[in-house]
């Protein structure tokens, strides 16, 4: 029984659609800046998802269009957004209390690297001349019940971003629960990494790309 669920690698939008489908109805979700933002395009009304933005709002709607732009209503990426019925505003400490107190069901973040046990590196390249900037990444990584990462599996140089140990500075320790990439979905946790499904490659082909999978078996189909 194969866990390959797509004949080709997934594009960014297909991956966003997959993440969106995996979010349980009624969830409270924070979508990180960049690729994770695409997920909002695929959430359905029936799912009844409430989006949180760390700069002080629950019930965030889609990006504002021309006539809707309001400088006082932006998301964490400083993009003008809209307000849905049932929204609420609160100050920064209350907003981060939502994140840090474990009240968000899921946050979706980009990453430089994720370790097999769910360590996350997504804020700093570690380059000596880089100006560090962390924003809310550590709070989201540490606070959300589930942390989903979206990233390409390989760097431009072909190295796996899913690693045994992160070489980049960490954002959080053991916090990532799932990693969505163009070539596979991984489940990560204290017991290490498992492959949920692959896209455009077999499990064995994936193993060749991802050294940390060397000794791993695939997850029995249907397990999640």
């Amino acid at each position: 029984m194969s866990i390959q669920t797509s004949a080709t690698p997934l594009g960014r939008n297909d991956l966003a659609a997959l993440v969106a489908r995996d979010i349980a109805p009624g969830s409270f979700v924070n979508l990180g800046i960049g690729q994770p933002t695409l997920v909002s395009n695929y959430l359905t009304e029936e799912q009844n998802i409430t989006l949180h933005t760390e700069n002080g709002m629950l019930g965030m709607g889609p990006e504002a269009k021309d006539g809707e732009i309001d400088g006082d209503l932006i998301n964490a990426g400083k993009i003008p957004v809209t307000e849905l019925p049932g929204a609420s505003y609160f100050h920064h400490a209350d907003s981060f209390a939502i994140m840090r107190g474990g009240h968000l069901d899921i946050c979706v973040l980009g990453a430089f690297q994720v370790s097999a046990t769910g360590d996350l590196a997504n804020w700093h390249t570690g380059a000596p001349d880089a100006i560090p900037a962390v924003g809310g990444a550590m709070d989201l990584a540490t606070g959300a019940k589930d942390v989903f990462v979206m990233m390409t599996l390989l760097t431009r140089d072909g190295a796996s971003k899913l690693v045994e140990q992160c070489s980049y500075p960490l954002t959080g320790v053991g916090c990532v629960t799932r990693v969505y990439t163009d070539k596979a979905v991984f489940l990560t946790g204290p017991d290490g990494v498992t492959v949920r499904e692959t896209f455009g490659c077999t499990f064995e082909e994936l193993q060749a790309l991802v050294p940390v999978l060397k000794w791993k078996r695939e997850l029995a189909a249907g397990a999640l």
């Binding site: 609160f90 209390a97 939502i98 994140m99 840090r100 107190g101 474990g102 009240h103």
Partner: protein, 219 residues
């Protein structure tokens, strides 16, 4: 998931034997009397109850204590002119008391909701309520280490809820409601009115729906 529930009886089924239950209210203001009565009827026992007081007269929390259903009270002010049921149980050694300065009570509840592992506060330093606790001098002031108070269930009262579970309160009946809603795994709210989603101004929501699990309207 947010649920709108028809009866207070169904709502409090979430309270199990041995649960830690936060109950909102300061005096009668903000007390969820109907939910407390339902908890009384439910039979749940061996409870740890977090409330500012320890029951008054022959109603609500006082009856829960009288019936021996409360193993432990965490509160700031158990002694009142009409707290006879608590007094009797306490003097008989049949109820445990954790006495907490009211501000520490509020801040410890807030800490639980906000994911804080513990904090230092000057309140209580040098008093018998700091005995046995970790202390340190910070910026020249003696401070006491206090830990968050988490709960399994919160029973609170609000004025209105909308379809997303957003809440507004009324005057000083707000008191412990917002922080208890955030500190409990499961928050049950009795409201006077349920309004359509969109009817509450997003600027004026006090408790966002993310903190609310069950809503029941009481007459």
């Amino acid at each position: 998931m947010l649920e709108f529930i028809d009866t207070v009886g169904e709502a409090v089924a979430a309270v199990k034997d041995g649960s830690t239950v936060m109950i909102g209210g300061f005096g009668n203001a903000g007390q969820p009397f109907e939910l407390i009565d339902a908890l009384l009827d439910s039979g749940a026992t061996d409870l740890t109850v977090v409330n500012n007081n320890a029951g008054q007269g022959d109603q609500g929390l006082a009856l829960l204590i009288k019936e021996g259903r409360v193993r432990k009270m965490i509160c700031s002010f158990p002694r009142q002119s009409d707290s006879w049921h608590f007094d009797a149980k306490f003097k008989a050694g049949e109820i445990e008391l954790e006495l907490v300065p009211q501000g520490n009570l509020a801040e410890r509840i807030r800490a639980a909701g906000a994911g804080i592992g513990g904090f230092f506060t000057p309140t209580g330093y040098g008093t018998m309520l700091a005995e046995g606790k970790e202390t340190r001098i910070i910026d020249g002031r003696g401070q006491v280490f206090e830990t968050p108070i988490h709960a399994d269930v919160a029973l609170i009262k609000a004025l209105k809820a909308d379809g997303k579970g957003n809440l507004v309160y009324r005057k000083t009946a707000r008191n412990f409601g917002p922080i208890m809603a955030a500190a409990a795994k499961h928050t049950i709210v009795q409201v006077s009115e349920i309004v359509p989603t969109g009817a509450l101004d997003p600027e004026n929501v006090v408790t966002p729906g993310i903190y609310v699990n069950s809503i029941v309207k009481v007459a």
